[in-house]
Symmetry: C2
Subunit: 467 residues, 2 copies
Amino acid sequence: MNNQDLVNPDQKIISTHFDQEGYEGFASENLKSLVTALEAGQVSVVKGMLDHFRAQDIASILEQLTREERKWLFDILPKPLDAEIFAYLAVPVREEILPLLDSETLADVIRRLESDDAIDLLEDLTDGQKQEILQRVAPQARKILEEGLNYPEQSAGRLMQRELVAIPVNWTVGETIDYLRAKEDLPKDFYDFFLVDESNKPVGVVPLSRAMRNKRVVRLADIMDQDLDLIPVDMNREEVAYLFRKYALVSAPVVSDDGRLIGVITVDDVVNIIDAAAAEDLLKLGGVRASEFYRSIKQTTFSRWVWLAINLFTSIFASLIIDNFAETIQRQVALAVLMPLIASMGMNAGTQTITVAVRALAVHDLKLTNQWRFFIKELIVSLINGCVFALVAVLIAWGWFGDWIIGLVFGVAMFSTLLIAAVVGSLVPIFLERWKIDPADSSVVLVTTVTDMVAFASFLGLAYLIL
Amino acid sequence: MNNQDLVNPDQKIISTHFDQEGYEGFASENLKSLVTALEAGQVSVVKGMLDHFRAQDIASILEQLTREERKWLFDILPKPLDAEIFAYLAVPVREEILPLLDSETLADVIRRLESDDAIDLLEDLTDGQKQEILQRVAPQARKILEEGLNYPEQSAGRLMQRELVAIPVNWTVGETIDYLRAKEDLPKDFYDFFLVDESNKPVGVVPLSRAMRNKRVVRLADIMDQDLDLIPVDMNREEVAYLFRKYALVSAPVVSDDGRLIGVITVDDVVNIIDAAAAEDLLKLGGVRASEFYRSIKQTTFSRWVWLAINLFTSIFASLIIDNFAETIQRQVALAVLMPLIASMGMNAGTQTITVAVRALAVHDLKLTNQWRFFIKELIVSLINGCVFALVAVLIAWGWFGDWIIGLVFGVAMFSTLLIAAVVGSLVPIFLERWKIDPADSSVVLVTTVTDMVAFASFLGLAYLIL
């Protein structure tokens, strides 16, 4: 593919993206052509290519570039800037780009974004900048943004759009259609009509498709669903995402403390949170801070450093136990050879149980009602696997060192290590959750420390007594 | 809360679910009341409570119960069965319940489900059962189901609904509304009109909200978007989910090889896949098979067993290295005390890098264009942290054993271990992905094995040379 293809205005780059075979390949090809053009400083070629990308693609491309390339590309983006680009940029990259904008450009971007994205963007600014930008926004929009900024950061209030279509419950289909045709400033897309009473409290919902299928004289109240999924404005957004997923919602009304309709959350706002919530657990269990991929080396080094330091500190406890049995090891060096095998197995078994527990807690599969059953299941699984691997351990040690006693000690230690890994691995996440500590954050360190200590203590202690 | 509250037909249990403060608490309370009533065998009380739950809630409740309770509850569910329950049940639980249904009930459930859910359910049955059920379905629906079953299991073809609203591109808003009002068998919910030409190829899309805001005489062709996100029927469903998330799609048309419109995928079908894709990486990195929470003890034991066995096997390589230096350890037992510290740090650093890489690969942040940059970044981070922790290591070993030489050896080993963890931890996932092996599945075992071996070899080898 050459640049000529890319700047051909008749070509629909976006639909080609969806070509199964070449999706990744094409995106990369496209990007490579862009980088080549960037490096050659071919402004007009790059500009021609940019016209064919959507906001999401421009955001991806900006993320992929180095700091210098990014600045250069950003400068030649078509003006006025597509405000949506800022809604899709990874936060570290966005933080890097925002200082490149003057206040008027930034205010213009804020004005053109939907309220939830605008608030998200304002949040990245200093208080001084925030005030300056807000002064440049029309009073009515400013009021909405200021209210939004007052909701807690992880709440439904931040997530919701204030632009919504609320219809008096006594209207007919025809009245509603006439209203829509006349009204100018409606949200870009909406999927449901929320019906409200005189005090602006939601009383029912009619999906657009249902309204369209009914005759003009039909009253909305006669075709509405009354089972409303009301989201309180201060509900945590991960909880919101969970409810959307569980009940397959497309949009849901957000209500204030006194039950009035104040906003709407649509599924496209929630899709990213569903992904981010699962990804956050993944990253935390792996000992990294959420989404550090685009963070600077300095930030990454520091965030890794913290977990490594905690890990070093807790590992010392295991080493202290080994130190206690230094003489036993000196007498029987086979112990030192086999120690890492037990530690590694305990670590592995513990991580398995933690992973299942953390995930099940996150999606509300693991609740008060079945915690006890989960624990018993993990216990039985570990008893069975403990027996199997104890037997294997005996055989390995015997085959290796030709000593049945060492084999026996190794086997018993293997059994108790797998058992303790399951017990601690299932109880720690459950209790952390109960004490409102994020189990994804702290479980691994706690469990491996305990498991290692028990592993070494049982192995070396037994060896000390028997050998 | 007592059961009386729950059977009161005026009470809206579902909206109470959304009460922030008590969401989890209430759900559990509710469930506990149900379990109490179940245990007391109060059929009428339980039945009264069941009327107030939605299909998703009934599915959750069935999942939470023991095998016996589940069978009992299932028997007293209101008939005819709410087909949707089967669309929401976790697969292992569904597999357990399906044999309880006779063919006619099952055929009835299949008839009432949307095609994508029906195909998903049919897939759980044996070929014989499948044929028997399909015979009981009307010919037209049967044809759709049979076609669906022919698409690859993870493909867009399985995910799509065949029920869609395709409108000839030359129609007006008024014609479309009249068609909707007259037509009987439309999908329950839809959000977009897909416009097709005479050969049934999609040429544009009009969101329902836009159609509603235009006058009856307006031609759909004049208000349609031509930038269509066409999904090829054989696209992998994780790729579909990624595209929905990236481009904030609500629905997208699925096309056959020759470009004809054959189905539609809506965002609610995709939400669960987005969650499942991220969760699968989480579980695999933790050494467990996807979604084993509701699997039987037998299945769980076996799936855990596989990874533990692989881990035991690979750990033996590290032990072999230690065995090579048995005499050195016997001479200087401090080495045995410090060994686990290095192994644990290498493991931790390796896991951090793997986790970032696996996640970035999954969401296409890590591509051919920036792999080299990712590797360099990981290298620099590990060089910095390597220096920091080498220094700490020297101090620990010196403080503990009062021996500068051991400290030095320990420090050098710590540095090389963190370095190798970053190198292997970043390269292994990238190359596995390139070779089409799932990096979430195999990276951890490969990387820890190499890291452990390098850790022990550098530590003990250096000690052998110097001490």
